[in-house]
Symmetry: D2
Subunit: 212 residues, 4 copies
């Protein structure tokens, strides 16, 4: 079984991206799971090209894309990707799309096909703060997550999902009040998610819903 894990390059004026840092520290093999990794440019469009290349090259069974969620305190497994790019800040090429579809003619949304609730339960069991999130935003993370699930729908033979991770402590040190997570724990969290995804297809039937 093979997993592909992607991480974005730094954006928004940061010199580091916790997602990419963590992805680059994953082992090559985890139990019976082979792990391939790919950095993605923090650029609309080009990120999807790089993702497709990696999919073609690695032919994974499981794909987890990982991105930074500055301001969140938990490892957040995203439930849904929506077909809209609405950029609050420019990407690394200066593009700032507004209300543009990720895929013209694509469905309004895709749901993750990894067992996100089982993963959240396993993360908490391991002592890592974790949650299901109902919005991946409307910037590059959602863009790549949507693109990934669109590939899956178009015949991809993989299951996919998206993980948002907190700032690293060194990033949060410059943002008053911002929560953070140590790099070791982000790496450990990704490994746990991959292991859960590799060992079960169905998800846990537990509530992780939000009232609003």
């Amino acid at each position: 079984m093979k997993a592909l894990v992607t991480g974005f390059e730094p954006f928004g004026g940061e010199s580091v991206n916790p997602a990419l840092e963590a992805v680059l520290r994953l082992p090559l093999v985890l139990d019976a799971l082979e792990i391939a990794t790919a950095p993605l440019p923090s650029v609309f469009g080009r990120a999807l090209v790089a993702l497709e290349d990696a999919l073609v090259t690695t032919r994974p069974d499981i794909v987890l894309c990982v991105g930074q969620a500055g301001g969140r305190a938990e490892l957040s497994l995203e439930r849904v990707a929506i077909n809209v790019d609405d950029a609050r800040i420019p990407d690394n090429d200066g593009q700032q799309p507004i209300d543009r579809p990720v895929v013209v003619g694509g469905p309004a949304a895709y749901f993750a096909t990894l067992p996100i609730k089982a993963a959240v339960a396993a993360l908490r069991e391991a002592g890592l703060p974790a949650a299901v999130s109902n919005s991946a935003g409307t910037f590059l993370c959602n863009h790549v997550f949507y693109g990934l699930m669109n590939e899956a729908a178009a015949g991809g033979r993989f299951r996919g999902g998206f993980l948002h991770v907190p700032y690293l402590p060194s990033q949060a040190a410059r943002v008053p009040g911002a929560p953070s997570m140590a790099l070791e724990q982000i790496v450990e969290g990704i490994a746990i998610i991959l292991q859960v995804a590799a060992t079960r297809a169905d998800d846990l039937a537990v509530s992780e819903g939000a009232l609003s």
Copy 2:
């Protein structure tokens, strides 16, 4: 031109719902717009039946469903409804669905068709805190919003959207640190949204996106 505005009955142990209170205080006519209102039971399934009844009875051009978002500080216009019920607490009939579709076989999501960014701009212009939100949660608000847009897609001749409103001050007085909004301002906010929706079909091309 006619608008239908709905509000939920109290739920979750509250004795009041700011959405319903506000909806019941709307005028019958606003400029050239006739306004019909309907209370919705805070019950999965039955809420949609009541909504459909109101749609049949009033034949509106514009529909705005309104719900309580305890903990939010702003009038939040929702961008997207997703096809999942995942209840963190039981509804008023004791139902607590987990990861069940709102509409079996329905698309993963629907986008609002009201001009939400123009409405947010008008609300702010009027001195009311407002935002575009990318998640209506997975409880009754999302349930009704999805059901509404599914009706629209199934031949309804209306444009639709969903508004989340903060606690009333009297509710927030029992929840340490919770933000609130005066009833008069929620009523005023709904009126502004309806006026914007009545006077323009297209939306503003301004960013209201979220990074994550």
Copy 3:
């Protein structure tokens, strides 16, 4: 019986200060309580001169100073004033003191002598979000609160306290996610605090403590 209520002029780039707006809308008489009001300049030092002038002129039994706490959701009655000026931003005269005592040689702190817990209970009873706060910050609000209680300690025959109020909705409309409170409710809240202060000297023995 006579009360003096003060409110600051706008600062920090704002064109309005909810404290001053509310204070100016207080009635001249409330039950048996006469109410005098005074605006205070948002300037270190000069604010205390204006406060002393108002104390001399009005000879109050009760003094409530009121200030803006952007970001807070509740009416916050302050428990303690500390003898330090540490300004995060410049005041309206461009002064930005760092770790300077409010009163050279003064004690490290003064406690409010108004019945703050009874006031918080009465505010909540009236449906207004309220709390006891253990820090008035280190800017002008704490400066005036400390100066006030120093006057009381130096022979002033009044009881005194400080109230922090949220942004007005029109201010919060320009600060994403910021909570706010309607002006009418801030005015009502101040009146309730004054009535409680006028009718009891001792405080309620209920916990309003903070763990950290």
Copy 4:
């Protein structure tokens, strides 16, 4: 030169206290600084007895008491201790004092005498989120901090301060949305504070103030 560092035993239903865990992992010597540590019971009164015992036994030059601040994201160096116990929850002996002085007849407050701003600057420099805090609450942390500084004022020959630390990740895993910090980073942070305190008596003249 000798430092005493204290940490509280778990309280409030927790089975672990990040403060104590970190303190127990400090080295015995740090550069030229000898480090003694002491656990404190999470009990009003008895905590101060244990603190006094440790002061007598170790005769330190520097004292840093450390406590848990569930909900905070940063290492928070406290500026001021106030003379009040107001317990939101019972301590480990079931005591829940309300508005009782820590020391009868003591001054209203004491300021920390460690260089807290220099320490915050050094922590951030090392990539650790840190802040000056203007309230240590009104529970056991403030109680011990006040008691410590009262000892210093009564002839103690040490400089003293208090550090609030976030939840450990394993604690935050059970509190939705709560920020946390890895134990290694808390330990590192304490060491940095001690080193700064050992090498300078005066503080940095930089603003770390709060508006409210």
